[in-house]
Amino acid sequence: MDLDLMINSIPKLLSATVITLKLLSASLFFGLFVGLLFAILRMNKNIFINKFAYGYSYVFRGTPLLVQIFIIYFGLGQIEYLRSTFLWVILKEPYWCAIIAFTLNTGAYTSEILRSAFQTIKPGIIEAGKSLGISNKIIFYKIQIPIAIRQSLPAYGNEIILMMKGTSLASTVTLMDLTGVAKYIISTTFKPIEVFIVAGGIYLFMTFLIHNLIKYLEKKYSF
């Protein structure tokens, strides 16, 4: 055990954790909107819209996240037309490519979580709203969405942890996140176990925090 190396690597790994957290929060933020949008599309009665939303979540859940990042980072740059539009400003940055890939990925999982949460809402609650003369729009925003969010908290907590682990793939497109820096230190010092303990410890600590936050929210919004 090389304790000096472990202590010396802590500040480097912690500053890389900031990038991991930025990637995580950005993709969760955008992913929630994508997820909600596709969950609503999934419940649409129009078969084409319905199938489209199903196809989206099937493709993104059926392929590895690594493929998705590579298609967006290496693949999209190949389209000449795209390079001439303003989108190129975003797509040439590995940081934004990673966020786009993570957003689309977590969006697919989130849409499934939210869809099943919407489906578990008892029809009686919606009927009660209707019989009280509340408009459909308000029923949706004030009754269905809050209940669905509460229902999906445990599953969404798992998704946050999965996504946190997923951000480690950003290191494959040159970003120096926690895993990227850990790999760099390992490959320069050849001390994999020491670095794994420190980096893994940081990841575990984040898992622990997320887990407890979700538990707290579950308790707070329980009924």
Binding site: G62, L66, V67, L76, M164, F196
Partner: protein, 230 residues
């Protein structure tokens, strides 16, 4: 389409073998995972606190740390660890472990943590009366597990194990960082030499979709088989 031709002109045969490699790694990793699950599930269910602790440590650490980090640990630390063990037995030559073994061990340990949770859940949801009835009838511990608990457990575990299989299959794409030529690595090589990453990575995505689709079909059949009588 020429890009996918078999033989020297295209990448069809290379990608075909890469797909077989992905399947081989996934199956090996899943089996390695089962072995780990068979060791750690009893630990998690044990009466002894210290054994529980070991079991919980394994599943918590592996499920809380990114897969890529575990793979790097094995990739950079694997041969070192083997050489250290070998040196105890008086063997000091350089040992290099092949990428297939490192990869399937790393993914297997990850997959094992998920399988352990699935088995634990399945065993816990079997009615206590089943254990007691077996005891009263004088069924041996061995027969109790293999003839009574396991068949019931499998029915409950198969839907969740199919999730573990999907996770394992997708995780094998990460082994490409160690240079093992599976779908992802082969697409990377093909994309680099033809300068057509969009096509090859999209094709890789199609291959993965095909694998997940076909395995779902197969698992559904298994599920139907083990749900007979329900």
């Amino acid at each position: 389409m020429e890009l996918l031709a078999f033989g020297k002109t295209g990448w069809g045969d290379e990608l075909f073998y890469a797909t077989l490699m992905t399947i081989a790694v996934s199956v090996t990793a899943m089996l390695v995972g089962f072995i780990f699950a068979l060791i750690f599930t009893p630990l998690k269910l044990s009466k002894y606190k210290s054994l529980n602790l070991i079991g919980n440590f394994y599943t918590t650490v592996i499920r809380g740390v990114p897969e890529l980090l575990v793979i790097y640990l094995f990739f950079f630390g694997g041969s070192g660890a083997i050489m250290y063990v070998a040196s105890i037995f008086g063997y000091f030559e350089y040992i290099e472990i092949n990428a297939f073994i490192t990869g399937s061990m790393a993914i297997g340990i990850i997959s094992g943590a998920y399988s352990t949770e699935v088995f634990r859940g399945a065993i816990q949801s079997i009615d206590k009366g089943q254990f007691e009835a077996a005891k009263v009838l004088g069924v041996s511990k061995f027969a109790q597990f293999y003839k009574i608990i396991l068949p019931q457990m499998l029915r409950l575990a198969i839907p969740n194990l199919s999730n573990v299989w999907q996770i394992t299959l997708k995780d094998t794409s990460l082994i490409s960082v160690t240079g093992l030529v599976e779908i992802m690595r082969q697409s990377y090589i093909a994309a680099g030499s033809t300068r057509d990453p969009l096509f090859f990575y999209s094709f890789a995505a199609v291959l993965y979709l095909l694998l997940t689709y076909l395995s779902m079909k197969l698992i559904n059949k298994l599920e139907a088989k083990y749900s007979r009588g329900y």
